[in-house]
Structure formats: C-alpha cells, structure tokens
Symmetry: C2
Subunit: 530 residues, 2 copies
C-alpha cells in the first residue's frame, strides 16, 4: 500500500461539471511533451476557488501555481532515486533524500530511525499551532520488470498519455512519491506566501511498506514516536484519491495483510530428493513440487476464491447496515464496465452481480498466490523431479482477523493435512484498520472534496492494505484518512504514472492535488473552514 | 533418454571378483589429473580376454588400447560442441560434427535428414557382412545450469572423482556422447587392426531426444530409413550400462513419455485478468494461478503419487509372472541403501518395501511436475494477482498406454472439471516399447556380459524413456538393446560425467566400454561366439 488501498480501477459513470480554474501561467514544464486539447487545458486545476476562500489562501494558491516547476522537479528527483525495498536498492540513499526533502519543506527535525530492516523517519514541524496532524509517508517502491515498461522506470519522464494528459511516468509516481511530493509542495507554497503552517505535523515514514511493513512496529512503537503521535488528532496519508473519471474515494479503513513464503523441499520434508533427479524415478520417489501444489490446493475453494483455511472465517465480522448502505451507493455510482476494463477482466469472480462483488471486495478475506516457482522453467521440457518449490502468498485480513492468529491458522491447517513440513515464512503483515466516517479528519476531507464539486464515494474498507492499525487501534486510536485530489495508475505494475496536467475536466493534475493539500491543512486546523 | 532409461542409482551389493586385464600403456591422458590407487589402476579394463577370444580379436583389442588417446580426444571434441536441443544451441554444428565423426569411423554414407525440428541423420556402414545391426544415436544434450557445475559444462575436462576414478565431466558425457564415442572407437579399432567390420550398420540419429523426440517419426518413417532398417536383426543403443557398484543393467523395454506444458491465463480462460493486477482485487477477480494449481491437484492422488487422470489406468498391463521374477531378482541383488543414497532420498514413496518399489518403478505410469512458474518469484513479496502461470509436466507410459490417447485423456479430464481452458501443449512424447528377453540381440548382450564375470540384471522395463517403439513395434518389430560396459552419472543434472579410468575393479572405464562394443559386434555377427 498505501496506493494499494486505492485500486486503480474504481471509476464513476456519473458525469458532472465542475467549476473551472485557469491554468497556471508559471507551469515550468517542457511544453513539447504536452498534447492536451484546448478544452482540457482550460480545465486544469478545477478545484473551485470557494474551496479555499475561507482563509486568506489566495496568496498560498498563487504560490502553488508559481512553484509548479520546482514541485515537478522535486518529484522527479525523488523518483530518480530508486528505493526498491525488496531488493535493497537505493534504500539508504532514498531515506537520506527523503529527510532532506522534509527539512526543505520546513520540518524542523527529521531523524532516521534504525530498525532490523530498512530505516524509518520521524520528522516534526512545530508551527505553534493548536492542532497537530500526523502524516504517514513511505519512501520505498515496488520492484520493476524494466522490459515491460515503455520508458525507463527511474527516469521520471513527462509523457503524454492519450485521454489522460501529461503524466510523470516512473516507479513510485503514484505509489507514493507523487502524492507525497504534492503534500510537500503545499508546505512550500504556504511558507512562500509568508504564512505560518496552520497545523503542527508529526510525520512517520518507513522504507518497507512494499514488504508488508515487517519492522514498522520498531518505528511507531518507539517512545518518542508514540509521544509525538499522542499529540495528534488524526493521521493523513497523502494519496491520489481520484479515479480515471474523477470520482473521489474515501476509504474508512483498510484490510490487513499477511505476506508469506511457502517452501516445500526434500530437505525439510525428509521425503523426496534433496537435489533434482531424473523424473523416471517418480514411481519410487516423492515429489516436493506435488507436495506444495497439493498443500496449496487445500488453502482455497476449488474455484480459487474463498479461503478454506481452518478457522479463519470465524473471525470475519459481517458488514454493518451503515456499511451496506455505502456499498449500495458504490454500486449505484461506479461504472461497472469501466471498472472491469481497468482490471482487464470480462467477468467478476463467480459471475456475481456488481453490488455483491463490491461487498465482497470490502468485506472478504482472500488468499492469493503472488508467484510460484519450482524446477525447470525455461524453454522446452526437462525431465527432472525437482527437489524444491516455492510459493509467495498474500492473505488479506478483515476485522476482526489478526495477522498473528491467521499465521498460526495456516500452519495448523497445513500440519493437520500432512503438510507440516512445508516451511511457512512470514515476509510481512499486520492487522486491518478501521476509521469511523464520523471522525473529524474524515468529515474534513469530505467537506473539502464537496467544495470541489464532487461528492466523494465512501468505501467501508479498501481492498488493499496499509499498516494503519498501529495508529487506529489502541493505544493511539487516531482516525486515519487517505487524502488528496489527483489521479495515477500502474502501482505495482508497468508504466506507473501520476497525472501532472489532466486532460479531463474532473480529474486533477498535480497542481490541483497540491491545492487540495493546502485546503486540507487549513480545514484541519479550523474545521469550520471546511 | 536414453541414458534416462538407466537411472543413475541402481547399484548392487553383491561383490564379486572379476578377471583383471592390464592397463593400456598407450593411454594418452594427462596423468597429472589422475589419482587412482595402484590396486584400482591394475584393475582397469577388467573385461576378461575370454570374452573376446572367440574371434581373432586380440589385435583389435590391442588397437583399442593403443587408440585411447584419440578416443578420449574425440569425445572431448564432441562434448565441446554444445548441442542443447531445447535452446537450439549448437544443434546444426553438432549435427555436422556427428556426421563427420560417423564418416571418420567408417560409415560410407551419412546424410542429414531434415525435419520440422532439428535434423536427424541416416548413416550406413556396408561391410558386406551377413547380418546388419541398427544403431540409435542422439546428438543433443540437456540444458545446463552452469552455476551449479564444478567445472565449465562444455570444457570436457578430465577430473579426478574420489572413489570413482578419472572421469570426463561435461554435458552429454554419459547421456549420450560418451557411450556413443566408445562405440565409434570400437569401429576405429577394428579398422586399425586390418579387420573388416563383422556386421553392416544402419545408424539413425536424432537431435531432439531431450525434447521427447517430437519429430523422430519424420526421420524413422522415411521410406529410405524404413528400407534400411528392414535389413536389420535388432537395434542397439550404446549405453553405460553399469552402475556405481559395477552391476550391469539390461532393460527389456522403456516407458513411453508425454511431455506437456499446461498454461493457465486470463486470456485463454476468459476469466481473471489479462495483465498482472493488484492482489487487493482478489475478492472480485479470478486467479489464473489458483486455476492452474487446482487443475494440477486433480491429476494425481493427494500424496502426489499415483496418477488420477480419468481412464488412463485401464490401459495399464500388469506385470507377467516372468517380469515379477525379474523384480524379485532385482530386489535380491540391488543395494537398497546405496540406491536411496544415490537418489538423495531417505524414504521410498509411501514407505513401500524395496521390492514393491522396484515393481512400481518398472510397471507404473507417473505424472511428474518438471517445473512450475507464475507471477512474482524474486526476493521478498509483490502483492500482485498474476494473469498467467505455466507448468511443465511429464507423464510416463507403460504398456499398453498410448501417448496420443493419454493426451486426449488429460484434456478430457481437465475439461470435465472446469479446466478445459487450460492450454495443454505437447512438447514431445511417444509410446512405450518392449523387447523380449529371449530376443537374439538381448541374449547376445547377456552372453557378452556374463563373460566379463558379471551376471547382468534384467529389468522388465526401465523407469525412463526413449523412442524405441518406432523400432520395436510394427512394422519393424526389431528387438532393442541398450548395451555397453562403463559407468557415468549426472544425466540431466550437474557435473555429468563418464568414467575414463575407473577406480573400482568391477566398473569399467572407457577402454573397457570400447572393448565391450568390439565384443558385441563380433558376437552379434556370429551369435555362437558370444
């Protein structure tokens, strides 16, 4: 996550007009890259002035437009520093760069927090304000399959994307450096306008989000971090909360996740070979690959959908009436066909109707195979009986499932069926999190969004995950909100991008995203302004 | 195959002395590589003189010893020309080299036979003899995982192997260039001794044996090849038929094989995504990887052993009383513990006893996963729902199973269970073959072996496969025999080798192998000599 909680595909069929702002004159981009139609160009930064008229924000918003060149360049610098946590590529360098970017944006302190894995960051911005907002950053990114990309994934090129606009393409563009860079740009604009930040900030960052945050507890549970967070009234995750049609998503929680590696081997099993042998021996010799395949096949229903792990369903809490009404609304407003197209599918699982599918999406645990490998996988065949095989599995958790209990359940389930030798290694994971729609930071977000002319869509829970339970559950119990206008695509896959200049009236580019963060900070400081 | 029909592991606990021959004085090898004990050195080429005293063969055998340097160098040249059929590496070059080696050995004609895949060879050696022997060669080799090897796999280095002797290590050393080079060396020796070859030869070679011989029919069924083969009284495959303890294996047939690729994809299925998407979408989206895992899991029993494909068992012919007696003898003479060690296993499948295991080995069909791959397989996790997955499967066939019928059965089995979309691609395959133990070429082999002082072990059928049914079944119905003293190891895996100078009295090195081919040719020409 946390882009992951905002699946690429949610889109709306409801077409509404929104107020139009002029495009910024100072936008310091290479215009040769841009091929945006006149009508679309005029629609850039469609956030209505009314949304920020409450305070004396016109000078701040002018600064946003004036600084767009630097804001895009800052994001490009950040993306050009790879930070692939799974492969430990550029992590230290990107951690240092992130701390510098935070200090440049006005954070008075930014300290590296060592963990047993990649380091985290605690940064504070003391503005002498009444209220304090916590902010979550991740500075790591997913791996890349470079040959699949149409541009080098760490070049941060500006690319024209038909029907989308000018986008910044690169790994981390939308997940999560783009929205985070927009948030930092908002801080720069406020300072450049000669204003004091209206809130204090406590920012916690990690470099292992894409690993399932295996050491995040070592950051967030440190006494000084807990002390800083106790001052906060909520935690915000800079996000690109719009979909391709401009609809805005507000998620009231996220699933937990358990990322596992399951390995079957002759060595661990004590059966089958401990090296690859000739497959002609199969009548006499057990196969560790078959052992893994048969073990995996017991983890889900025969159709590959519902989990079949002993005992885990009992913890699943059904949706409340309130949550079901949100799903009704989602089913009414979202464009089913467009959503299927974005997911590259022709059928929902089990051919369920759209509303039932949406309800499952927000309420069901899943067991997914991220990858599987064993034996010979090159061209042609090779008549071997392999001695080991490996599967990478993620299990998404909904309230009241606990990652620790599910891990034990997986092990117990396998052991009971004769697969107890299969090594189950936890790569990462954490519990689900929940925030009430009535919480202040959520209501503030909804109010800011409404003033942009779009009624946000409330999701009872995202289909993805982020380690928000460290904040939302005891002892902190902070409401958590993903916030930010803007749109991007391709998180975890090829050609990831964040829209810089939108070709669509309702979809915000980066300037619109920055404006939305300015508005959110002022509204959070003084909720009545929202 | 066809080394594959001679699993690496069969070994005997019965210790017998065998007559000792002097070591060859002319052995032109780099002695610095050799660290063979004096006793072992004296035991080289232990084939008794009596085995070749029948004709005037002493001058031939002297030539074998004299030419050992050239014989080893010839094998080295052959191995140094890679010929990996699965990757189309060096195939044309090796086909040309093989034809040259055949002509050099006295074949009057050697022509390339084009196929839709890699070319085959038909070579004939007209000696004006009464009887004609068919010979099968393969010139291709398996792929290599070079990093696993202790020496470069195509350098054909001479290496000292503790407790084994001096070996020639390289891909193809035992499977099959080594034994084939020994056979060619026998022809060179006969000619050098001024003798006429006692038999005519019809040699058929292919370059796709390691692919499951997908185009072998286009070679063997050509009219000129069929015409040449009709003149033959049997077909011989040069082999290294000894195991590590010196026991000699005679196999009376081989299993058939069907090599398949099974691919599940969103594209073919029409369900699930057609590109990798975020795994948070799993509640709404079908998984092609789960689809493959669940489909595979239906192909075998839950313990991964017996096939569970609808209908294929009905064609399995039980062993005859005669074959069961052979298994009794195998169980009595083979060293179970050593065999398990060679297979790197601690238990037989299902913890069956040794005799039952051996009976299963020669009589049971199997479904094996050679390899499986899908999704993300690098370090750490990656929360994707992959759009495709692939498994490579081999199915071993016993009489009276037919490859074509089993392929149809696999497809029908999958379709019946809702997996009809899974693409089943045949990579290669052919039916099983059988030769009677009473056939002349078999009896000749047994007689030659006996004279070496070792009673050969008769196997009703090998656990591996070769496309012998083109010869053994109608219309040709030639008896087929794998023949040749000598020992090697590592076919299809790392550090493949063929013994050049054996450290064990009962195990022959390359010279002993060549001597055995000389003896076989004379015995075949005049069976009473055997």
């Amino acid at each position: 996550m946390n882009r992951t909680d905002r699946p690429d595909a949610w889109t709306s069929g409801a077409a509404r007009d929104s107020e139009v702002r002029v495009s910024p004159r100072q936008l310091d981009l290479d215009r040769r890259d841009v091929l945006i139609g006149a009508a679309a160009g005029a629609a850039l930064f469609a956030l209505p002035r009314s949304a920020r008229a409450a305070g004396d924000l016109s000078s701040v918003h002018a600064q946003v437009d004036k600084q767009m060149g630097e804001s895009v360049a800052r994001l490009q610098e950040w993306i050009r520093q790879p930070s692939i946590s799974a492969q430990n590529i550029g992590i230290q360098e990107c951690c240092d760069l992130t701390m510098r970017l935070l200090r440049d944006a006005g954070f008075g302190s930014a300290s590296k927090i060592p963990t047993e894995g990649h380091p985290g960051i605690l940064a504070t911005y003391e503005a002498g304000a009444k209220r304090t907002l916590a902010v979550y950053f991740m500075y790591d990114v997913k791996q890349v399959e470079e040959k699949e990309w149409s541009v080098p994934p760490f070049a941060a090129q500006l690319v024209d994307r038909p029907e989308v606009g000018k986008v910044l393409m690169g790994r981390g563009a939308v997940n999560q450096k783009g929205p985070e860079a927009s948030f930092l740009a908002a801080l720069h604009a406020i300072r450049a306008a000669g204003q004091k930040l209206p809130v204090n900030l406590v920012l916690v960052a990690e470099g292992e989000e894409e690993l399932g945050s295996p050491h995040f507890s070592q950051i967030v549970q440190r006494p000084e971090v807990q002390a800083a967070l106790r001052r906060c009234s909520g935690i915000m995750l800079p996000s690109a909360a719009q979909n391709v049609a401009g609809e805005i998503n507000v998620t009231l929680g996220a699933k937990g996740v358990l990322e596992l590696e399951l390995e079957s081997s002759g060595e661990k099993w004590g059966r089958g070979p401990t090296r690859d042998i000739h497959s002609g021996q199969k009548p006499a010799v057990d196969s560790p690959v078959w052992h893994l395949v048969q073990a995996l096949s017991t983890l889900v229903a025969p159709d590959g959908n519902d989990p079949a792990i002993d005992g885990i369903e009992s913890a699943v809490r059904p949706l409340s009436a309130d949550e079901k009404r949100m799903v009704d609304e989602l089913a009414r407003r979202l464009d089913e066909k467009l959503m299927m197209k974005e997911l590259s599918i022709q059928h929902w699982a089990r051919d369920l109707d759209f509303r039932t599918t949406l309800e499952r999406l927000v309420s069901r645990p899943t067991v997914n195979i991220e990858g599987i490998v064993g034996g010979y996988t090159g061209p042609g065949g090779k008549t071997i009986l392999p001695h080991r095989a490996l599967a990478k599995v993620d299990i998404r958790l909904v309230p009241e499932m606990k990652a620790k209990e599910v891990l034990a359940a997986v092990r117990g389930h396998l052991a009971k069926r004769g697969y107890g030798d299969i090594e189950v290694r936890q790569l990462g994971g954490y519990d689900p999190n929940t925030t009430s729609k009535d919480a202040g930071p959520v209501q503030t977000a909804v109010a800011v969004y409404r003033k942009s002319g779009i009624e946000p869509l409330l999701w009872p829970r995202s289909g993805g995950s982020w380690p928000g339970f460290y904040f939302t559950e005891k002892p902190l119990q902070l409401p958590a909100i993903h916030f930010g206008l803007g749109y991007g695509h391709g998180a975890h896959s090829k050609d990831e991008f964040y829209v810089i200049e939108s070709a669509k009236p309702k979809v915000q580019g980066m300037a619109g995203a920055i404006h939305s963060f300015v508005d959110y900070l002022y509204a959070f400081a003084s909720p009545s302004h929202a």
